[in-house]
């Protein structure tokens, strides 16, 4: 058992920070800030990361990676997340869409789709949720009818992140067999977002524009060689993808960065001696340490070759609640001006904590609600009977 990073991993972290300090302009506040320069910047950042071999580090060498270890990859994810994810929409490619294609794709699909991801040249979105299929994702209705050597896709997806970036491709879940039990009639299709019949409608959210969208499919033709995995075998692909995703997001790292910012604020504003300030920030730090360790636990199991679905869910539960707690405590400590947003000269920390609050309203809902995560742990981790 060892709780330290190696000297090499620490040096890499320092190198990354130096790179990001230089590459990120002062106006960078994440891609949902409504700043039109943001998404183009993320393309530049991904290209620079690719040049340095840092974009797909943990991927196998044969697919454009350097087989870097789980921990070096963790350091990278932490620094990216702490800086509001300057890889932008492409982080999904690296975290799980690429790995899914490696696991379930044909050689020809891998040759076609992985290199652009490795070069930082492509944006993917995922078409999962529908207006009537959220937590009950398996009840999805978007239809993929197989006929005349292609699939014809019709239906609607919602809460689709990055579709209007614009995304180049979509990892789409569709029903290929309406007659089968719901989990067994789903397929995963790789859809060109420039295909005729696709309409993207952005959904404005409390976090700002350019995050979530509706995507409408009207008889969209998808070639047969864009089926990922087996027809009707999509559910296994989904579950694998969700586990990769849960383990791959270092959410606690942004919370950690905000905590550091609040400590600096407390010292500079002469309030570091106040008991409520000290205890509020200490409590946050303690929760952060707990979440970080549980993420590392899941990663340790992954490094040992396991697929830790229960442990990843437990880490996710801690992450989401940490993020919301950081907002709550931070806003309270910062006082009345905490409600001011970036751009207002009186906004403390340039509105970072208000922004963090807005961004994290859906944290316990997205990618598996807190309640679904708990049901998963109850069923698969504790052996409790199916909940009613």
């Amino acid at each position: 058992m060892d709780f330290s990073f190696t000297a090499g991993e620490e040096a890499f972290r320092a190198e990354l920070r130096a790179f990001l300090d230089e590459a990120l302009p002062l106006w960078w506040r994440g891609i949902f800030s409504g700043d039109e320069r943001a998404i183009p910047l993320t393309r530049d950042i991904c290209a620079s990361l690719a040049d340095r071999g840092w974009l797909t580090m943990a991927w196998p060498e044969e697919h454009g990676g350097s087989d870097a270890g789980v921990w070096k990859q963790t350091v990278l994810r932490e620094e990216m997340w702490a800086h509001e994810e300057p890889r932008g929409p492409q982080y999904m490619n690296l975290n799980y869409i690429g790995p899914l294609i490696m696991r379930f794709g044909t050689a020809s699909q891998q040759q076609r789709f992985l290199p652009p991801m490795a070069h930082g040249e492509v944006i993917w979105c995922q078409g999962f949720s529908e207006p009537d299929a959220g937590s009950d994702l398996a009840s999805l209705r978007t239809r993929a009818l197989r006929e005349e050597g292609r699939f014809l896709v019709s239906g609607q997806k919602i809460w689709t992140s990055y579709a209007d970036a614009p995304a180049d491709w979509c990892l789409l879940l569709a029903r290929t067999d309406p007659g089968a039990p719901k989990h067994r009639g789903i397929s995963v299709l790789l859809v060109d977002m420039r295909s005729p019949g696709i309409v993207v409608r952005p959904i404005p959210t409390m976090a700002g524009p350019h995050e979530l969208n509706e995507v409408f499919f009207d008889d969209v033709a998808v070639p047969l060689d864009c089926l990922l995995g087996n027809q009707d075998g999509g559910w296994e692909v989904v579950v694998t993808g969700l586990t990769f995703e849960r383990a791959g997001i270092a959410r606690y790292a942004r919370a950690g960065r905000i905590i550091e910012m609040l400590v600096q604020w407390a010292r500079q504003s002469g309030r570091a001696a106040e008991p409520l300030v000290r205890h509020g920030l200490a409590e946050l730090r303690v929760r952060y340490e707990a979440a970080r360790l549980l993420n590392y636990r899941a990663l340790s199991l992954q490094a040992a070759g396991q697929v830790p679905t229960v442990e990843a869910s437990i880490a996710r539960i801690h992450n989401g609640q940490l993020e919301q707690l950081v907002s709550q405590v931070g806003l309270e400590l910062l006082g009345p001006t905490a409600q001011l947003g970036a751009g207002d000269p009186l906004a403390p920390l340039d509105g970072a904590v208000r922004r963090h609050w807005e961004r994290n309203i859906p944290t316990t809902v997205a990618a598996g609600t807190l309640e679904i995560q708990k049901n998963l742990v109850a069923l698969h981790g504790l052996g409790l009977p199916r909940p009613t």
Partner: protein, 361 residues
């Protein structure tokens, strides 16, 4: 970075688990709890024969030379009994200060006895009217000690008493008389004693008063961490009992664990136990490294105190009335966890330590 146990650590844990299952089922725990001193000589001897009483004592004195991390792993398993023994007091509160501050002759005389389990040690720290473990002791130091200490763990069974005075740490051999230990009305977990010293001969450990202060702080940090791990083991057993109940207790035609409200409480227990466990492991690991373990120890204790409280509230809630009956085993673990929560650091003082370690001054 690797949060999995090494092969050697796993072996220690596996051996300890068989021991607890075979030699200390809850029936035995209840028997031992009825003893006025809470102590069982036979159980202690079997722990000594497994090398556990000397696990962290340096090898030249007949100990195992292992670190706080191994002690933590062992005690986590012992908490599953919950095995009643003075192992934490003896190893962390007595042997550790003697190894750190004793002169060569003192170490040669006392450490082998503590390692073999022939002597049992403890630390007499808290004084009447004191606020917590970090108050400066006012008991007058000297070759003969007169005064009172309170809340001394395992003093009834202990032969070697490390006593904190205004002149640093002194060691008293309780067998030589002028020492009276009277058991408090404690929680029924680790027995706590009021200690009357009526002219007890005492030997001072080497080093300045300040040096002894940091020795005591380190001993308390180690005890806090290891005690937290013990409580995590108790919490894990409490979760097992809770799940058993949730699976088998039927109401409204179904197991109560099939109701989401009940299931989610169990998940919250699992989530808190796991967080506590890894925070405790990391604190123990940090105590075995060079450098200050302040942040790691204080974070584990601050989180642990609150988490233990939550865990047992959930356990009792899911059990319903049956968990309240002392004929059921849950209370054995509840008491253990409550004592751990209330010993060696309150949430408030530990959070303040975290604040200092974070740079808030």
């Amino acid at each position: 970075m690797d949060l999995l146990l090494s092969g050697e650590q796993q072996m220690l844990v596996d051996t300890a688990r068989s021991f607890v299952e075979r030699s200390c089922p809850t029936g035995r725990v209840r028997e031992i709890d009825r003893d006025p001193l809470g102590f069982d000589e036979r159980l202690w001897r079997s722990m000594a024969s497994l090398g556990w009483t000397g696990l962290t004592i340096p090898e030249p004195y007949g100990g195992g030379g292992r670190g706080v991390l191994e002690m933590t792993l062992l005690c986590e398993v012992l908490g599953r009994g919950p095995v009643p023994s003075p192992i934490i007091a003896s190893a962390m509160l007595a042997a550790l200060p003697i190894a750190a501050a004793g002169n060569a002759d003192q170490r040669d005389r006392w450490l082998p006895l503590l390692a073999s389990g022939e002597a049992i040690g403890t630390l007499a720290l808290l004084e009447l009217g004191g606020r917590d473990e970090w108050d400066a002791p006012r008991l007058a130091g000297g070759p003969v000690l007169r005064g009172t200490k309170m809340l001394v763990p395992w003093a009834g069974a202990a032969s070697l008493l490390a006593v904190a005075t205004d002149d640093g740490l002194l060691v008293v051999d309780a067998r030589r008389g002028s020492v009276r230990a009277e058991r408090h009305v404690d929680l029924g977990a680790d027995p706590l004693f009021r200690l009357e010293l009526t002219g007890a001969c005492a030997e001072r450990l080497d080093g300045s008063g300040e040096a002894h202060d940091s020795v005591i702080r380190r001993a308390l940090d180690c005890a806090a961490t290891v005690q937290l791990a013990y409580a995590v083991g108790s919490a894990e057993r409490a979760l097992e009992l809770t799940l058993e109940h949730a699976r088998h207790r039927q109401q409204f035609g179904r197991p109560v664990g099939s109701f989401q409200a009940v299931a989610h409480r169990c998940v919250d227990m699992r989530s808190d136990i796991d967080a506590c466990r890894y925070l405790a492991y990391r604190a123990a690991w940090a105590l075995d490294q060079d450098g200050s373990p302040d942040l790691e120890v204080a974070a584990a204790k601050a989180y642990g105190n609150e988490a233990l409280r939550r865990i047992f509230v959930h356990a009792h809630q899911v059990h319903g009335a049956i968990g309240f009956s002392t004929e059921h085993d849950l209370h054995l673990f509840t008491r253990q966890a409550k004592q751990a929560e209330l010993s060696y650091g309150s949430t408030t003082t530990e959070l303040d330590r975290v604040a200092v370690a974070m740079g808030l001054g």
